[in-house]
């Protein structure tokens, strides 16, 4: 009986040791193995089917909701069109003036033309509450490579970490394993933005100098340091700042601009034509 118990303990100890070894060996940034490729190959079509149903359901619901308020919305829109037409004429004037001033300042503006983008649909999410990754329906065959930046018009989403032939895994900025070099847009204070475990609505900006004033609603953008993310992509807005436990730096709580719960489509940056573009002033 005693030897039986020892046997069981020994087996459990061996299993735990092997599992820990395997967990450590299978971190995010590594070569993917054949079983993983095979699993993704079989599993992805089912995810795609469910996501297609989910999206169709969402469209149907929003269509039904919109029907209810259609007449009122139509009236509002007509009024808005009238207003916008008059503003458009003014804008044209400003545009010409703006272009002339930019030429004078040799200012480089952020436009989507500076990037080569591939659009991708989100077909899967990390099953656990602890990590934040998504699976997109673009892969090696579409020219996707590890470390490519992923964004949406609202701001930064994350970076590609694993690439399969038709899909790719994207590490979101809300993941605790993620660190993004960032600056506060208004004051140029540098720091590192990190994800918070179990939260898709909060980020932390670390290593902010202590003797500086950080205000609510200041915007945080990528700094371009580290070479992974292009400079100037919007990340979020500061909610509050407090001293870190060491007392040497400040930590800012940041609300991301991207709604990670409802992420359906993203853009992958496949090429940056001018990595030195300074977008910091361009994204007010």
């Amino acid at each position: 009986m005693v030897s039986d118990n020892y046997k069981k303990i020994l087996i459990v100890a061996i299993v735990i040791t092997l599992a820990i070894f395997m967990i450590r060996a299978t971190h995010l940034e590594r070569e993917i193995t054949v079983p993983e490729i095979a699993f993704k190959y079989i599993f992805t079509p089912f995810q795609m089917a469910v996501v297609a149903i989910e999206n169709a359901g969402k469209s149907g619901i929003s269509f039904l909701i919109s029907l209810k308020d259609l007449a009122e919305e139509n009236k509002k829109l007509k009024e808005e069109v009238r207003q916008l037409k008059s503003e458009l004429a003014k804008m044209e004037e400003y545009k010409i003036q703006n272009r002339r001033l930019k030429e004078l300042l040799q200012y480089k503006e952020f436009t989507i033309d500076n990037y080569d983008l591939i659009s991708a649909g989100v077909i899967g999410r990390n099953p656990s509450n602890w990590f934040s990754t998504i699976t997109i329906n673009r892969g090696m065959q579409d020219g996707i490579k590890p470390d490519m930046t992923v964004l949406v018009p609202e701001g930064l989403v994350g970076r590609v970490v694993i690439v399969h032939s038709n899909t790719a895994e994207v590490l979101l900025i809300t993941d605790p394993r993620m660190g993004v070099g960032a600056v506060v847009q208004q004051t140029r204070l540098p720091g590192v933005v990190r994800g918070v475990t179990g939260s898709c609505e909060r980020l932390k900006m670390l290593h902010l100098p202590k003797d500086t004033q950080i205000k609510r609603n200041q915007v945080v953008v990528t700094s371009g340091l580290g070479g992974v993310y292009p400079k100037g992509i919007r990340i979020g807005r500061i909610l509050k700042a407090y001293n870190d436990p060491s007392g040497l730096f400040q930590i800012a709580e940041v609300e991301p601009f991207v709604d990670f719960k409802r992420l359906e489509y993203v853009f992958v940056v496949t090429e940056v034509y001018n990595p030195e573009i300074n977008l910091l002033e361009g994204m007010e």
């Binding site: 735990i16 599992a19 820990i20 395997m22 967990i23 450590r24 299978t26 971190h27 995010l28 993917i32 079983p35 993983e36 699993f39 993704k40 599993f43 089912f46 995810q47 469910v50 996501v51 989910e54 077909i123 899967g124 999410r125 990390n126 099953p127 656990s128 509450n129 602890w130 990590f131 990754t133 699976t135 970490v161 694993i162 895994e169 605790p176 394993r177 990190r194 918070v196 475990t197 179990g198 939260s199 898709c200 609505e201 719960k261 409802r262």
Partner: protein, 168 residues
């Protein structure tokens, strides 16, 4: 018996597909339920330690493969939950949803605690308060879902004739 194992597999895969697609829409205070773990605990509670561990291994392996990193994290945490739920097989009434709900809360607490401890071992920075929030949050969410889903799940296996030895 082979057919029963196929049902195990089918439920685990169905739960995983939903977990990796639509479940994110149902986050409450950033917490989402763990449907795969729910199935593992249900199966462990209905069929005992051995089957609970089998379901835990399969559920954990597929979840890890779907997540794409740290293969073994979910296997270990689901194995623990499957084993614990299996211990309840001969000690509690399986047709009582409230008992199942309590088993599910305890199983989820254990599973998420194992996950958290392994994360610490991997040096993934998880503040204690955030860890507690996730562990307790998922346990309560899963416990609540058990009240809704367990009866249906249990009756499915009864109707297929795979739970004959149970006092109904």
């Amino acid at each position: 018996m082979k057919k029963l194992r196929l049902f195990f597999l089918a439920f685990i895969l169905l739960a995983l597909i939903l977990q990796t697609t639509v479940v994110d829409l149902f986050r409450v205070y950033s917490i989402k339920p763990d449907l795969v773990l729910l199935v593992v605990i249900f199966l462990g509670f209905m069929y005992g330690k051995r089957d609970g561990m089998l379901a835990g291994f399969l559920g954990g392996l597929f979840s890890d493969l779907a997540a794409g990193s740290y293969i073994g994290l979910n296997i270990m945490s689901y194995l623990a939950a499957g084993y614990l739920a299996g211990m309840g097989k001969n000690n509690f009434y399986k047709d009582n949803v409230f008992v199942a709900s309590v088993i599910c809360v305890i199983g989820t607490l254990l599973s998420q605690l194992v996950y958290y401890l392994l994360l610490l071992f991997l040096i993934v920075d998880v503040p204690v308060l955030h860890g507690i929030k996730i562990i307790v949050g998922v346990a309560l969410y899963n416990g609540f879902l058990t009240l809704i889903l367990y009866r249906w799940f249990y009756m499915f296996f009864i109707s297929k004739g795979y739970l004959k030895d149970v006092d109904v």
